[in-house]
């Protein structure tokens, strides 16, 4: 009873916004349970014309690139050895881990037979992009989980696993980047089979490459958005200077993306391109607001180094990516004279619940685990070159103090 009282007291101390998130999660869970009572057809607006709806378009196709920050920042910091960005790594890994865990939840809800999800292991069809993506998402979640274990071990002062994790760190970062590259692009491969369904504005043989590049710059933008939010609402230090470094990488990627997109439209796509006014508008908004505008913004030093403007430009990128993924997975698939799919209320509530859960669990982890205090300017992240000395390797100072 004491434990219950303490939990109640603790939860009572959360900000009101977080309590609101808990309500949204509760509603989402109820709707998700209703899916297993009444069935997919009753709860959603999915039908034989639109077998994939909001749950695939947002919970999988959009969430995966939104959670991409972990592998990119990990690779930048540990492989390219830009150590000053280190303080951004842990929050990103937490976001990645949460994002992917919830992608798995969304995927299981959307499956008709979630209890058979393990069939992908015993009946694998190597020609299926879906197999590849599901394998990658599972292994990636596992890898990010291992990376996430570091702050957990620090919190509880488990020194041996911590040391082990430290030696695994670089291999894990490389593995995460390789797996993420595969599935970020393979989500684009999904839509290559819809050759006569997806509109020419989006159907292109280089769709997987476009998906990968956009995942990279969106992952970086999410890191910016997240760091600024955390600064504003969780009282963490202002990282604008570090974010400006990330912001210098983004315009290059946006430019490459734009060039590739235009090239594919001119040389690789089928005609006609601009025969459907609504789709044309969606396309122009996606490219104009989601790619060109942030490209111009991030090219200016003034915007790159200003926290508020950084947030705006990064926000535009995130918006553009979400619109792009919806265009590819839903809007671009609508044929002429076909009814238009829109999600039902419970269907949307599940997705809102999943987004809320993302923010809520981030809040919890940020509150109880050392994911921000980790500013190891002095920390030594070299690969230990003499494994015989593994026991002599110093435990990070931080942990020493915590224990």
């Amino acid at each position: 009873m004491i434990a219950v009282a303490r939990i109640r007291e603790e939860v009572g101390g959360y900000p009101r916004f977080v309590k609101f998130l808990m309500v949204l999660i509760g509603v989402g869970v109820i709707c998700a349970l209703a899916r297993f009572v009444f069935g997919l057809g009753a709860l959603t607006n999915l039908n034989d014309t639109y077998p994939w709806g909001l749950w695939v378009a947002f919970d999988v196709v959009t969430s995966v690139p939104l959670a991409a920050g972990a592998f990119i920042v990990g690779a930048i910091v540990h492989c390219f050895n830009i150590k000053k960005l280190e303080p951004l790594v842990r929050p990103t890994i937490v976001t990645g881990f949460l994002g992917y865990s919830l992608v798995c939840v969304g995927l299981l809800l959307d499956l008709g037979q979630p209890q058979r999800a393990w069939h992908v292991f015993i009946y694998p069809n190597l020609r299926s992009p879906m197999l590849e993506v599901s394998m990658c998402i599972m292994s990636y979640t596992a890898v990010v989980f291992l990376e996430f274990l570091s702050p957990v071990c620090e919190k509880f002062g488990y020194r041996v696993p911590l040391r082990l994790l430290r030696h695994m760190q670089l291999p894990l970062v490389v593995l995460a980047a390789a797996i993420a590259t595969l599935h970020q692009s393979s989500i684009g491969t999904f839509f290559l089979i819809a050759v006569d369904k997806l509109h020419n504005l989006w159907y292109t043989p280089v769709l997987p490459l476009l998906f990968w590049i956009s995942a990279v710059f969106t992952g970086l933008s999410i890191v910016i958005v997240e760091a600024i939010m955390v600064h504003r609402h969780l009282g963490q230090p202002d990282e604008t200077g570090l974010l400006a470094t990330l912001a210098r990488i983004i315009p290059w990627l946006l430019a490459i993306y734009l060039v590739l997109k235009v090239y594919s439209l001119i040389f690789l796509s089928q005609r006609p391109l601009f025969d459907r006014p609504v789709l044309t508008v969606l396309f122009l908004v996606e490219i104009g607001i989601g790619v060109i505008a942030p490209l111009i913004m991030f090219l200016q030093r003034r915007i790159r180094t200003d926290g508020r403007l950084q947030l705006r430009a990064a926000g535009l990128i995130v918006f553009g990516l979400a619109l792009n993924r919806f265009n590819v997975s839903i809007f671009g698939m609508v044929q002429r004279n076909q009814h238009v799919y829109y999600p039902t209320v419970p269907e949307s509530l599940v997705t809102i619940g999943i987004i809320s859960a993302d923010v809520f669990f981030f809040f919890l982890i940020a509150r109880y685990f050392p994911i921000f205090e980790h500013h190891p300017e002095a920390a030594d992240y070299r690969i230990p070159d003499r494994f015989r000395r593994i026991t002599e390797y110093p435990v990070p100072e931080k942990t020493g103090r915590r224990v």
Binding site: F36, V37, F38, G39, L40, G41, A42, L46, D48, T49, P51, W52, A75, H78, C79, F80, N81, D110, L111, G112, Q113, P114, Q115, R116, A117, H119, V120, Y123, P124, N125, R127, S128, P129, M130, L131, E132, S134, V173, V174, L175, A177, A178, I179, T181, L182, S185, S186, G188, T189, F190, L192, I193, A194, V195, D196, K197, P205, P208, R382, I383
Partner: protein
């Protein structure tokens, strides 16, 4: 998926829509043989006489009606919708658990025991054939099996058996020959095209028609086998995995080495005046 050089011996439907009378015996036979539930329908719910509105989890084949005018007289044209049993089926290539299989006899069949219900087959199928049990809590996909059990027993599929006039069933080679013979014998009667000959890389259902196919509701489908579109990207997967892994490992090694050399340099400077270094 197994690549087969020729599909000429696959069992194939030749459906001559000019000979179809719209009796819907095939619809009834299909329901009976497959023990499919009846659907509650109303006349003129949809665009024409056809009933039910569309193929669904309960209806694997359906006759679509189209009325048009010819020489001032009202005429009917029909389209028997069903699974096309592609030579290289998109559904089989995208299914993560390999629930779909192109049988050596011709029909594309579905193994409900494997299905995890991801509905990728429905997105992939260019003809919109696989349907889903939306009414169920744990739904599966439903689709025409080409009456595989009957075919294996040496019978013809239920719809082909029931059809009094329009369907011929036999080897793909013979069916193509027969279709070409008819096109040559009555060039005025037919649109000069065999739908299914090249669609999606060739199918085990071939159609002849007197009206342009798109007017009847046939979809315009690429003639390249659909699995090849995804395979073009998917075959690069092992290379990309190794490539990204190897290059990142190499870059890390380089940057760590630079760090280590710099550290060693600094330690050397920090400890000056060692006699042998003078």
């Amino acid at each position: 998926m197994r690549e087969r050089k020729a599909f000429s011996l696959d069992r194939t439907f030749l459906i001559d829509l000019t000979r179809c009378t719209g009796c819907r015996g095939c619809q009834v036979a299909c329901k009976e043989w497959n023990q499919m539930e009846a659907e509650k329908t109303a006349f003129f719910e949809g665009e024409g006489y056809q009933n039910p509105l569309a193929m669904s989890e309960h209806t694997l084949t359906r006759i679509k009606f189209r009325d048009y005018q010819k020489d001032g007289r009202n005429e009917f044209a029909f389209y028997k919708e069903m699974c096309m049993h592609c030579n290289q089926p998109a559904c089989a290539s995208v299914c993560p658990v390999g629930a779909f299989r192109k049988t050596p006899e011709g029909p594309v069949i579905y193994d409900a025991k494997r299905c995890i219900g991801c509905r990728f087959c429905m997105v992939a199928c260019p003809f919109g054939v696989p349907k889903y049990q939306w009414s169920k809590t744990l739904p599966l996909v439903v689709k025409c099996t080409g009456c595989y059990s009957r075919v294996k027993a040496g019978l013809v599929p239920a719809c082909a058996k029931a059809c009094p006039s329009a369907i011929v069933y036999g080897n793909r080679r013979d069916m193509v020959d027969e279709a070409q013979r008819r096109l040559a014998a009555w060039p005025a009667k037919y649109i000069n095209r065999i739908y299914g000959l090249g669609e999606a890389g060739g199918t085990s259902v071939l159609y002849l028609s007197e009206l342009p196919f798109d007017e009847l509701g046939f979809k315009n489908v690429t003639s390249r086998p659909l699995p090849s579109y995804t395979w073009a990207a998917l075959r690069l997967v092992p290379g990309i995995f190794m490539g990204v892994g190897a290059s990142l490992t190499f870059i890390s090694w380089l940057t760590q080495r630079k760090d280590r050399l710099r550290n060693e340099e600094e330690t050397r400077k920090a400890a000056p005046a060692r006699p042998e270094e003078k």
